[in-house]
Symmetry: C2
Subunit: 266 residues, 2 copies
Amino acid sequence: MSTAILEAPVSQIQNVPARQTMNSAPESPLKKLCSNCHLRDLCLPAGMTGSDMSRLDGLMFGRRKVKAGQALYHEGERFQFIYAVRSGTFKSSLTLVDGREQVSGFHMAGEQMGLDGVAQGKHASSATALEDTEVCAIPYAHLTDLAEGNFGTHVVSRLMSREIVREHSLMLLLGSMNAEERLAAFLLNLSQRLKARGYSASEFHLRMSRAEIGSYLGMTLETVSRTFSAFQQQHLLEVDKRHIRIIDLDGLTRLRDARALRDASA
Amino acid sequence: MSTAILEAPVSQIQNVPARQTMNSAPESPLKKLCSNCHLRDLCLPAGMTGSDMSRLDGLMFGRRKVKAGQALYHEGERFQFIYAVRSGTFKSSLTLVDGREQVSGFHMAGEQMGLDGVAQGKHASSATALEDTEVCAIPYAHLTDLAEGNFGTHVVSRLMSREIVREHSLMLLLGSMNAEERLAAFLLNLSQRLKARGYSASEFHLRMSRAEIGSYLGMTLETVSRTFSAFQQQHLLEVDKRHIRIIDLDGLTRLRDARALRDASA
DNA sequence: CGATTCCTTGAGGCATCTCAAGGCAAGTGG
DNA sequence: CCACTTGCCTTGAGATGCCTCAAGGAATCG
């Protein structure tokens, strides 16, 4: 069974906030300012003015490390924090009635998780670290309490709206693309996000398994694997297990958009 | 060509707010209070306390009628309003590169549209009336300006989070259900929403075409049609064009959950 | 070293798509 | 008032893309 990791006791996973509050120094190493963060242009503070930025700094978010395979939060757990990824990669997933998991997203540095919990006050999905990670825990209540003027509103709302738009495009992918188009779209999306973070856009290491990619893209792990092989044969990629080198970015892009362009000319 | 309607000039569609401001009476028939609205338990004010409710009443949202086939807003248009459906049915859709449309949702009385516009300040999808409709136009800026305490934040955020959760379940449907399960899920969802609005849960009229259902559910219109026929043969439904009568609600529910239950026992 | 996990590849089957034809209802014009 | 068009739906037949089942290899771990 591969579920052992998912069943790690909640108490063990959630003991980190306590540790933070025990740090006596007012400016603990675990609480840092957004304005100093190397992710400030990608994360919450993106596009913020000076006054909003200092307000954000006033919140002093706590940090928390999550080891590979451990959960940051579980579906159904009480919603208190929004999390911003500092380092490493997470997956979000839902557990279906039958126990299978459906992956609903992958999250890397500067991206936020947990926004789906606002509606019900409980997390609607689980977040699991795919490698050793660090996050900022942002108390949702602080963010809303801080809604003098329209600071908090805008931060949260913009993040959420972005999430809605992201899910739109995933629906689009699931609803109207075939296996090759889906995997191409996935890889191009990864590539672009890595590039925005200063990593190579053409060569990277996948943090997730074929099964997780398949779940996310709505196909079986075998089809993911076969499609990787097909891309390799078409000289679009070099694939070695989870190491990916994009050889023909344009070709991959054309492939992703192939159906659209073909149909448009019809 | 069937696109004539979609190409109706924007200016024509958007002249209603002007009409509203020309009504001189402070309590114009086009501006009504949320607290009096027959949809108050389903719409924005759902679950609100007295003070929040009166704050909401202070906003006095304008109304606007949209005829069948006309757009309420278009993808890319400047985002100013959130809309709450008062009567009738809308579809939300994205236009793909090739001109095809991808339907991303259907909206009925008490439901909100337009939240995907917050992220970019532009609408990320279009909303088109499937029959003659009426909406409340809620200026987004008013909602956020009004964020003293945490009133506005909560309203908008809860709506958005709900939207995220809704899209989760659609992704799940698109990623892991077959044609019969998808259509069953769709019909059961409609049935439930109609019931919540005081209509019959077992007999209703579809406002959308087979093609629109297919686009929403990620299948072709032919498969939608065939699946309707199959349901009829299984004595789950009676189908006459767009008129649907659910004969066996439990059977339909079992069918929707079939895969999950089967796999769970495995 | 055996057990386990993850990945790849093959073969066959099936669900869904594609293409095509025809029916029905409503609207339109002669 | 009838012929014709148009939009929407249904159904069939054939093609195909993806899934399922199965086997085996490679890397990792205790």
